[in-house]
């Protein structure tokens, strides 16, 4: 009798739960068809961070504002005149820490991005002004693929969490615009137990 029972159960049991959905992607599509909202929000985690909403490639999301993070903004507090009027000296008297390692000197110089006539603004390749808060537009001129990926969320990081409203870091939150590459470094840890196990 118990064998019969086992058989009956064996027949009714099915390890895979195909049924309606064949794959998780199908399931996602079906279940998100009438998605409305979730009960959590990332707003409380933003805390002190001031954000501004941007609209890029049809995506709307928040990024942290940048200008207040720049020490000594506005630049015109020092740079009262045009950059061209600055005396050309061998030795820098300010911005010692800034070393430009972004593409090569044929491609990029200070004024490729900084507006020499209005230091409070950045400049596009065609000479139109770009606000410091919207510096991603500057980067997006050359790094088009990254720009697109960033606008969708495939490049870069989210600011505080996955919950809506979407808040993403902007280019300069991770990359130093003057040296955008990441340095090599040592991994932060090494697992000695794993090493031992595999000996």
């Amino acid at each position: 009798m118990s064998i019969g029972l086992c058989l009956a159960l064996g027949l009714t049991s099915c390890k895979h739960k195909e049924g309606e959905y064949h794959s998780v992607v199908e399931r996602i599509e079906a279940m998100s068809a009438d998605y409305d909202s979730v009960t959590v929000s990332s707003t409380p985690f933003l805390g002190e961070i001031e954000t501004l909403e941007v609209h890029v490639h049809g995506q709307r999301f928040l990024i942290p504002e940048s200008k207040k993070q720049i020490k000594g903004f506005a630049c015109t507090e020092c740079h009262t005149g045009s950059l061209e009027d600055l005396p050309k000296r061998r030795k820098k008297k300010a911005h010692w820490d800034i070393k430009l390692e972004h593409a090569d000197s044929h491609t990029m110089a200070c004024t490729t991005c900084h507006n020499p006539d209005n230091m409070d603004q950045l400049t596009s390749l065609t000479g139109s002004q770009i606000d410091f808060d919207y510096s991603f537009r500057l980067c997006g001129q050359c790094h088009t693929q990254e720009y697109k990926d960033w606008s969708g969320g495939a490049h870069g990081k989210s600011l505080v969490g996955w919950a809506p409203p979407r808040a993403s870091m902007t280019c300069v939150n991770c990359h130093n615009p003057h040296q955008p590459g990441f340095p090599t470094k040592w991994p932060v840890r090494f697992n000695s137990q794993v090493q031992k196990e595999r000996e």
Partner: protein, 359 residues
């Protein structure tokens, strides 16, 4: 409620795990953030063999009766010992007793969940004098968690591993780590055999790329099917979780996992008191005991609050993307729809919710 019906349909096909206690209160528990909508309760009919073999209520009732009778015995013992035992040690004994004979978290009611969490918090307080915060928050509605990993961005710094160990209170003695970063050679494809997942040299190494693995929270998880006591299951939001107090430690799930996603506490896990993360979830980073299986939960204590898992937050390169697969406007959905994504060992039919992609 077409949505709920649909969700239920999915779950009732699942012979083992259809006991999703439908949240009659909002799922936000202790958490801040408004949640006005109290969904009416949908009671799930017993399914499959359970129609014939007693249902959860019977089981729970029987269980309650059993604990009650045991408790009477324990009470008798403890009152007879009350001359020597102080109130605190009596309380400790009481908690230990109730914890030993509590039921499976998956089948608990909201109140029972609260009770066990309160007991655990109190027990920790009695033992260490420290207070911790433990949540029993249920899955959020309209959420299915997913993860994407950019193999052209990862540089192998292992900040994620560090963050994970600290966030999830993993055993320091055995150096348990949920995440492995595999250093792969360019031009050799995804050759895990020749990859090094325990490197120690300056990274990124010339001619190499990096690929992280952890629990993929499969939609058809083989580990869940094999568990003899349903101590591990897939939650409504897609997280594959373990009830550490229900696990008997047979390690069948470890044998069944094709992704090396599970870890076992071979000895009593040790975390220095000062390093204990006190923001905990019952299904997540609370302290484990020896002889139980644990795994990545996408940091359930964080993700259900709306935050990213610790690995995502710690990654300095933005290689890790986390989000709600059901939200058509989420970044994870954008990645799935716009990048060339793939998953590991897709042929096994496990349907991981963890995708890889390249720039």
């Amino acid at each position: 409620m077409a949505k709920e019906k649909q969700q239920k349909k999915w779950f009732s096909l699942d012979l083992g795990s259809n006991k999703q206690t439908s949240a009659n209160s909002c799922g936000c528990g202790k958490n801040e953030g408004g949640c006005g909508s109290h969904k009416p309760e949908t009671t799930s009919r017993p399914d499959g063999y359970r129609q014939y073999f007693g249902q959860k209520m019977d089981r729970r009732d029987a269980f309650r009766k059993l604990t009650a009778s045991l408790m009477v015995g324990a009470g008798a013992v403890s009152t007879s010992c009350s001359f020597i035992a102080g109130d605190e040690s009596k309380e400790k004994a009481q908690i230990d007793w109730e914890e030993q004979f509590k039921g499976n978290y998956k089948l608990m009611t909201e109140d029972e969940k609260k009770a066990t969490v309160d007991r655990l918090v109190r027990s920790y307080q009695l033992r260490t004098g420290k207070t911790l915060k433990m949540s029993s928050q249920d899955a959020l509605d309209n959420v299915l968690y997913g993860y994407a990993f950019n193999i052209s961005k990862c540089q192998g710094y292992m900040d994620c591993v560090n963050a994970c160990v600290e966030e999830n209170n993993q055993d320091r003695k055995s150096e348990m780590q949920y995440i492995r970063i595999h250093e792969m050679q360019d031009g050799k494809g995804f050759n895990f055999n020749e990859a090094d997942d325990n490197y120690y040299h300056e990274v990124p190494a010339q001619g190499h790329f990096y690929m992280g693995t952890q629990c993929f929270h499969c939609d058809n998880p083989p580990c869940v099917d094999v568990c003899p006591v349903e101590a591990t299951w897939r939650e409504k939001d897609g997280l594959v979780v373990v009830d550490y107090d229900w696990c008997v430690g047979c390690r069948y799930c470890m044998a069944a996992c094709p992704y090396d996603g599970r870890r076992f506490n071979w000895s009593k896990p040790e975390v220095p008191e000062t390093e204990v993360n006190k923001d905990q979830h019952y299904l997540g980073n609370r302290m484990r005991k020896k002889g139980v299986v644990e795994k990545c939960t996408f940091c359930v204590q964080r993700s259900r609050a709306g935050k990213d898992p610790a690995c995502v937050e710690a990654c300095p390169t933005g290689a890790r993307i986390f989000g709600n697969l059901l939200d058509p406007n989420s970044t994870i959905r954008w990645v799935l729809e716009n990048k060339k994504v793939f998953r590991l060992k897709e042929d096994l039919g496990t349907e991981p919710k963890f995708w890889y992609f390249m720039d």
